[in-house]
């Protein structure tokens, strides 16, 4: 069957993809530049038999997600950077309670109220410290509207599989842009959730959704078990796109919207006779360490490009164990790097060979 390609805004595509992935609880709060997502849900969710509710705060929204997810329903919330900070508490509780959900962050510039233009300055928050305590969440980094659609579905499935929250780390550029997109069929089947607190009906003992363990040894054991699961996640779920890296002498590492700009720069570099390639992480946690190492096999240097002061660059260095020089080019505050700027940097690094 040929699916029709339609133009759609990233934010709206995320919403439609979630509904098709079986999301039946969406709880949000308005914030630029992701508000179209909520508006779309307000229009469509009830028709799909689900719940849309505008919460009184980001904090309430993530806790409504917690409640819906605890009862076994696929649930989602979306926000942008300052709002995601407010969700940190709830995300930590959900991780500690082994609850799956999807959180959308259409990043904008920070810190504080920051700005409303595209940014990637929440990388550390998403991959390192999305709340207090020892835990991780899955972090997906789409670079096109189509990939936003595909990753929402993937995020719900993977979150359910490992019983952990998943985040789509997008940015204002991806959220606001329109691109052609096709949608998958509506998902009919979802995994059984025998752990859910949805009324035991007298058929089983009561289920408890909880993150409290007052005995240190018991809490330690529960965290250890979770981290064993994380090891499986690292092995099975890390994902990246390698572009022209086989013979690349300089590898550009970039994700999300920045990777699109970087790809243009890599193409220009190739046209100028420089053997450049691109490694684009599609999952930020787990970080695609093996893919990066492989992509850098023949490289003399790596250039990491981000819309931040340099956050993913840490993971790039860690993955390579600092065995190769890792350069950084960053724009922040909502400034999108230009292809020409990246090309110039590639030439500078290449010229130093």
């Amino acid at each position: 069957m040929v699916l029709e390609r339609n133009l759609m805004k990233g934010n709206e595509a995320l919403a439609e993809a979630a509904i098709r992935a079986g999301c039946r609880g969406f709880f949000g709060y308005p914030i630029t530049p992701q508000t179209e997502l909520s508006a779309y849900m307000a229009k469509k969710m009830a028709k799909a038999g689900g719940v849309f509710l505008q919460a009184e705060s980001e904090i309430a929204a993530i806790n409504m997600v917690l409640g819906a997810a605890a009862s076994g329903v696929r649930a989602m919330t979306s926000s942008s950077s300052p709002g995601v900070s407010l969700k940190a508490e709830g995300i930590s509780y959900m991780a500690g309670s082994d609850l799956p959900c999807v959180i959308i962050n259409v990043q904008r510039g920070g810190p504080g109220l920051g700005g409303i233009q595209p940014s990637q300055a929440d990388y550390w928050q998403a991959t390192r410290a999305m709340g207090h305590g020892d835990f991780h969440i899955l972090v997906y980094a789409p670079c096109s509207v189509q990939e936003m659609v595909d990753m929402v579905s993937k995020a719900f499935d993977t979150a359910d599989k490992y019983r952990m929250p998943a985040m789509i780390l997008a940015d204002g550029l991806l959220g606001q842009m329109m691109e052609p997109v096709t949608f998958p069929e509506i998902k009919a089947e979802q995994p059984e959730k025998p752990w859910a607190a949805n009324g035991h009906g007298g058929k089983r003992s009561h289920n408890i959704i909880n993150s409290l363990y007052l005995k240190p040894e018991v809490l330690q054991k529960s965290v250890w078990e979770r981290f064993e699961r994380y090891e499986r996640v690292k092995k099975e779920e890390s994902d990246a796109e390698s572009y022209l890296t086989d013979d690349a002498e300089i590898v550009v590492a970039a994700y999300g919207a920045t990777a699109r700009v970087a790809k243009s720069a890599v193409n220009s570099a190739r046209a100028a006779g420089i053997k450049a390639g691109l490694l684009r992480p599609k999952t930020l946690w787990p970080f695609p360490e093996e893919q990066l190492k492989k992509a850098c096999k023949n490289a003399d240097a790596v250039l990491c490009v981000e819309m931040s002061m340099g956050q993913m660059v840490d993971d790039v260095k860690l993955a390579l164990s600092c065995s190769k020089p890792v350069h950084f080019l960053g724009r922040t505050g909502g400034v999108v790097p230009k292809p020409s700027e990246i090309l110039e940097e590639i030439k500078k690094i290449g010229g130093a060979r």
Partner: protein, 176 residues
């Protein structure tokens, strides 16, 4: 081939809609397209612009900084973008709204009283689409068939009665 386009004007002039028609046109020709609006706390009457890319290759940055083609529907937009147009590029200027003439001789400028033309033809508020018509005539970046389908796709079902008017506006632009 890649065409990078900026459309700019006041909010309410249909800048974003005109961009959408172009993007859909590219899509109907089975090419790669992207559309990116400027966004911010701007009200009706404030400035609005959007970037449209139409290409045979996957599109890199959807944010156009140096357009091949510019549509400018007011003076602030004209001033902001006219010097960004790539040498060899083309600018389509609504001369009802902009009374300046471009001094650059490395680009082609077309002055169309689009707002006035729309008004005279009972198509009030469709100066944006008149300019699209002129752009299509001068560049041929979208096939005639595709643009018709693009208008049908872009006009929301609740306003389907406006499809004919939009097509007429394109025709007026093409003939100017």
């Amino acid at each position: 081939m890649t065409s990078e386009i900026i459309l700019a004007g006041f909010g309410g002039q249909g800048i974003l809609f005109a961009g959408k028609v172009l993007a859909y046109g590219g899509l109907m020709d089975e090419r790669e397209v992207s559309w990116l609006p400027s966004y911010g706390p701007e009200m009706r009457g404030g400035t609005a612009n959007c970037s449209v890319c139409i290409s045979d290759e996957p599109i890199g940055s959807p944010l156009v900084l140096e357009p091949d083609l510019l549509i400018a529907m007011n003076l602030p937009s004209y001033n902001k973008f006219i010097n960004a147009v790539k040498p060899g590029g083309k600018a389509f200027i609504d001369s009802t709204m902009v009374d300046e003439k471009c001094q650059r001789n490395d680009i082609n400028c077309f002055y169309i009283p689009a707002t006035q033309l729309a008004l005279e033809n009972n198509l009030s508020g469709m100066g944006n689409i008149v300019l699209i018509g002129k752009l299509l005539k001068e560049t041929g970046i979208i096939s005639e068939q595709a643009i018709k389908k693009a208008v049908e796709k872009s006009v929301p079902p609740s306003k389907a009665s406006l499809i004919e008017a939009n097509l007429k506006a394109i025709e007026i632009g093409m003939k100017y």
